[in-house]
């Protein structure tokens, strides 16, 4: 026990002597473990928070939806539940009215005309109690509002368009509604417009208005009617079993109604949020692993160098006959102490990262509940690694040290001098500045292993940075490419969506064409489909249009003349995934009208006459002259329009908003805007981590520079004895830092590009429908290089104080 205390006291003194290096090494471990724990915990936090949020607002367990256009008298839907075999399974049920609408939420100077949804809910007694509302601005709906044209707006939509807390919006049919606040509601925790091409995070082009049931019925012209029923089930009831009973009850009680019964898990927002939380976990884990690897590598380097400095003391111990095992104890205790300190700091760092992530996630996706508790299991894994690796880093130099013959280990003075490493390689290299110009380069090469390890340590941090920002660059490059393709120099182009399929000469089409602000309009037919080739099947969004349209047509990377088959243009990514090239054929499964009001799925073989550069894989284009081959001749469900030179998209939107049969009018770049929003939100997470990564690079560089100062103290003292100005030495140290920074940046960027490839593969596996463009912006490379160089130079300069305070006589007197 006494002996243990002796070793601990000795090692503690050693730690005190090198406290700044120990603290920095511990911080490096802490950043690695903290980011690993913090970033890696996001998946668990999201799932926990989503679960709590859905529960907080009483998300429905089952939902009965009537076929579009069908309505039932209020009370009949909930009444149907009485015929269930186990009516007690349903704890609560509320009827609603859900109708599509158009929404004009324009404010002075800003046109907001979007597709929308009006939801009428039971507000009696503080309702709705199922799929409840959490007020985020203004006030909640109250029973007194029932019957008045009063509403609340869905929070994401209100936030996206920066709408005031209260105001007026106009719905289809020219009905004006006063809104009194904004609220979150479970079905729109993430706004999904299932009728849109880019359905996710659709708040920029899709607004939800919630009103008291009677008010919604009045505004929509469906007085006394409902078309939606939401239910909460009693605890322990199997939702699938309950759904089966509800389906039976409706079939028996209201056989004239065609209904769909969906479980909570089938709700698009619910499904997407939990699905994304799981799939994003892989990307975050990969990013966190990069940071952890960087930290671990750096900690290994730094710890081993701290211990290496004790080789002479180990040699003295050997000369005194201390057993090797005994000699190893002290440095190992030092390694253990650094590891423990790192793990302790790591808990704090993990908490800090957690706080940062919590804030970022709350901004990114407002939810009623965000819970970010410390993930002990996750952290324990990182802590184990953070603990084990410094120990391992200690073991290696100790193992080497105890194998050196004692006579060599205790040798002092010039006899202990090491060679110049690879420095002789530069002997013939003419460098400006005499010996002051030569020294930084020579110093780098005299201990090449250390230089490489330091460069790898800083480089590892840069690698992580390149991985993070490169991912954003790639997303942005993908979007830029998509935007170029969609806009093609005409950002004023707009897409008009009709409420359904209509003949090409229908009044709505004519009305659009003749609208005052419209310069040109062409009919478009858009429908979902499936493309198949060589046994692979992918989802498609098919647009039938004039492939030579002067308004817009897809630009083609490759094209062959159309042959005997109808022609289709697919995305490059689709061609790659289907294994086809231009000239090959694909099968398209698509809706084919079989009568005036009926459709069935048909299959048509088409020739791929071209590929377009758009990054969204589903987009495919069929020549309008071939529509007949698909059984779709003379039918359209949209138009693309160009405003007159003196008119804006907003004016077109407003003019067409009045025409019956139009679902929405949106600028063509709406999809890109939505996606940019999405990326911007994710960027918040990456930027939070960037700060830690940059700090990591600085700490690694600082400790390496600090250890260099220790190791070269005698040389520096000699220089000072000759009267060398401290600023000259500092300049040399700075140049050396600059060189280390450049090497680190080169290593970091090189490995970072490889790492980015891996991250993109993970991202592509998550979203195969997006053909991600691998990109690294020059600005990103410059920033990474800048961080590496600045960190290394700053670290070198941070040692200025130590250089200036050097006790030259004492340093010269020290033999080792």
């Amino acid at each position: 026990m006494r002996r243990t205390g002796f070793w601990l006291r000795w090692s503690a003194r050693e730690l005190r002597r090198r406290w700044h290096q120990v603290a920095v090494t511990a911080l490096v471990i802490a950043i690695g473990t903290g980011v690993w724990a913090g970033l890696g915990s996001t998946g668990a936090w999201r799932i926990r928070s989503y679960t709590a949020s859905f529960e907080r607002l009483s998300m429905h367990d089952l939902r009965v939806v009537l076929q579009p256009g069908s309505f039932a008298p209020a009370g009949s839907l909930s009444g149907a539940l009485r015929s269930m075999e186990h009516p007690d399974w349903v704890e609560a049920a509320e009827e609603r009215l859900v109708v599509s609408t158009q929404l004009d939420a324009s404010t002075p100077g800003r046109t907001v005309l979007v597709r929308g949804r009006l939801i009428g809910v039971d507000v009696s007694g503080g309702g709705p109690r199922i799929d409840a509302l959490q007020t985020t601005a203004g006030r909640a709906l109250v029973p007194a509002d029932d019957g008045s044209a009063v509403a609340v707006l869905e929070d994401h939509f209100a936030q996206r368009h920066e709408l005031p807390d209260s105001g007026r919006v106009e719905l289809a049919g020219g009905r004006t509604v006063r809104y009194v606040g904004a609220a979150l509601t479970p079905e729109y925790f993430v706004v999904i417009d299932d009728a849109a091409v880019m359905s996710v995070m659709a708040e920029s082009a899709f607004g939800v208005v919630v009103m008291p049931l009677a008010s919604a019925q009045a505004v929509s012209g469906h007085v006394g009617s409902v078309n939606d029923l939401v239910m909460r089930l009693a605890d322990g009831v199997d939702p699938l079993a309950a759904r089966a009973e509800v389906e039976r009850a409706f079939a028996e009680g209201l056989p004239e109604l065609a209904v769909t019964v969906k479980t909570k898990a089938e709700d698009p927002a619910y499904e997407m949020l939990f699905g994304d939380a799981e799939s994003d976990r892989a990307t975050f884990d990969a990013l966190a692993a990069l940071v952890l690897a960087a930290a671990v590598f750096a900690a290994f380097n730094l710890t081993s160098r701290i211990v290496e400095a004790q080789r002479r003391e180990i040699g003295i111990g050997m000369a005194l006959g201390v057993p090797r095992r005994g000699l190893a104890i002290r440095p190992l205790v030092i390694g253990a102490e650094i590891a423990v300190l790192g793990v302790v700091f790591g808990i704090g760092m993990g908490w800090l990262v957690g706080r940062a992530m919590s804030g970022v996630m709350n901004d990114m996706l407002p939810m009623p509940v965000w819970e970010t508790p410390f993930q002990l299991g996750r952290f324990a894994g990182a802590a184990a690694l953070g603990f084990a690796l410094p120990l391992l880093a200690t073991a290696w130099p100790v193992w080497r040290a105890v194998r050196v013959p004692p006579v060599d280990a205790i040798r002092t003075g010039h006899l202990a001098a090491r060679g110049g490493g690879l420095a002789p390689l530069l002997k013939r290299l003419p460098l400006p500045g005499g010996t002051f110009g030569q020294l930084p380069f020579r110093n780098l090469l005299r201990a090449p292993r250390r230089t490489v390890v330091t460069a790898l340590g800083v480089g590892a941090a840069i690698t992580a940075l390149i991985g993070f920002i490169g991912l954003l660059d790639s997303f942005n490059a993908t979007l830029d490419r998509g935007e170029r393709e969609i806009v093609q120099g005409r950002p004023e182009r707009a897409m008009v969506e009709l409420t359904g399929f209509v003949p090409v000469n229908a009044p709505v089409v004519t009305a659009v064409r003749s609208a005052a602000p419209v310069a040109a309009a062409e009919p478009v037919l858009r429908f979902p489909g499936l493309l198949e080739a060589r046994g692979t099947e992918i989802a498609a969004i098919v647009e039938v249009l004039d492939l030579g349209s002067p308004i817009w047509h897809p630009s083609l990377v490759e094209r062959v003349p159309a042959g005997d088959l109808p022609s289709i243009v697919i995305a490059e990514q689709a061609a790659e995934d289907l294994g086809v090239t231009v000239g090959d054929t694909v099968l398209l499964r698509h809706p084919r009208p079989t009568g005036p009001d009926s459709l069935r799925v048909g299959t048509t073989r088409l020739r791929v006459v071209g590929v377009h550069p758009g990054p969204l894989r589903p987009f495919a284009y069929v020549e309008i002259d071939d529509a007949g081959a698909l059984g779709l001749a003379g039918v359209v469900n949209g138009l693309q329009v160009l405003p007159r030179p003196d008119a804006s998209v907003g004016q077109v939107q407003r003019a067409l908003f009045e025409i019956p049969g139009i679902a929405s009018v949106q600028p063509v770049d709406t999809t890109v805007v939505v996606l940019r929003d999405l990326i911007d939100r994710f960027a918040g997470i990456f930027r939070a981590v960037e700060v830690f990564v940059a700090l990591l690079a600085l700490l690694v560089a600082f400790n390496a520079a600090s250890i260099n100062i220790d190791e070269r103290a005698r040389e520096h003292a000699t220089m000072f004895a000759f009267g060398l100005r401290p600023r000259t030495l500092l300049r040399m140290t700075g140049v050396e830092g600059l060189l280390v920074g450049c090497v680190s940046a080169a290593v970091g960027v090189g490995i970072g590009i490889l790492a980015l490839g891996g991250l993109l593969e993970v991202a592509v596996a998550d979203s195969p429908e997006v053909g991600l463009v691998r990109a690294l912006a020059p600005g990103t490379i410059l920033m990474a290089v800048g961080i590496g160089v600045v960190a290394a130079v700053a670290a070198a300069l941070l040692t200025a104080r130590r250089l200036r305070r050097m006790d030259v006589p004492s340093t010269l007197r020290v033999m080792e």
């Binding site: 060679g419 110049g420 003292a717 000699t718 004895a721 060398l724």
Partner: protein, 260 residues
């Protein structure tokens, strides 16, 4: 830094002072105490008076802990006295600012160390050139000057070798060349033969002796009484005080007569 004229007759002169030869090093009642954080105060030097003339070869002799290295450091402005006055090469070192002390070392003194302290990443020639670069007097001929100085110490053939490729004696000769290359008038050597065998040590002493004969002031610190026989003067220290100051007992010996 205050410049003082070389004292031609400042008062009582040391034994062997040559009339008309300026005093290069002047220590008046110099003391140096180290404060050990309140627990321990160490007096390294106390009441030391010392005058060294230009071109003198002086050995400061004393056992370990006698204060001889502290004395050398104070003369070389690496350390500052806690009492007394120090004037070296006409510069008042006492009370000078940090920046002035750096400039003083650059322009007036050069050190030679027991462990040579060569820069391992530089060749012998470059180590010597470092001395020239620090002073900044080369006017574009730094390399030629360094080569010439290296040849002067007999290492012209070893110019491109790195320190670890040289013997101890060769390394010390490079160190001397580095000190000489600065062109400073005062050489301060701390146990310059401490790590060398007798034969090599004698060669090094011969080199230093030659520098004194060429007009440089050489102050050598050693615990080796035999070395002091080659000096013009021996200043013996004990417990931080000068206990004797004069020519070597039995007169100055040629370095070839030394033996240890």
């Amino acid at each position: 830094m205050e410049t003082r004229p070389h004292p031609s007759n400042p008062g009582p002169r040391h034994v062997g002072h040559r009339e008309g030869v300026p005093t290069t090093i002047l220590l008046e009642d110099v003391g140096r105490r180290y404060d050990g954080g309140g627990l321990l105060e160490v007096t390294a030097l106390e009441g030391v008076d010392l005058e060294v003339d230009q071109g003198e070869f002086v050995v400061v002799l004393g056992p370990s802990g006698s204060g001889k290295t502290t004395l050398l450091n104070i003369v070389g402005a690496l350390d500052v006295p806690t009492s007394g006055e120090v004037t070296v090469d006409g510069q008042r070192v006492t009370g000078a600012g940090r920046r002035d002390l750096f400039r003083f070392r650059r322009e007036h003194v050069s050190f030679i160390f027991q462990s040579f302290n060569l820069f391992p990443a530089l060749t012998a020639l470059e180590n010597v050139r470092f001395g020239i670069d620090v002073v900044g007097r080369a006017n574009g001929a730094a390399e030629a000057t360094a080569r010439r100085v290296l040849e002067d110490v007999g290492l012209g053939e070893r110019a491109e070798h790195f320190p670890h490729e040289l013997s101890g004696g060769e390394q010390q000769r490079v160190a001397i060349a580095r000190a000489l290359a600065t062109g400073n008038p005062i050489l301060l050597a701390d146990e310059p033969t401490g790590e060398l065998d007798f034969r090599t040590g004698v060669q090094i002493l011969g080199l230093l002796r030659a520098q004194a004969e060429a007009g440089k002031t050489v102050l050598v610190v050693t615990h080796n009484r035999e070395i002091s026989r080659s000096a013009d003067r021996v200043v013996e220290l004990s417990s931080g005080r000068v206990v004797s100051d004069g020519p070597p007992a039995g007169g100055r010996a040629d370095v070839s007569e030394l033996h240890w």
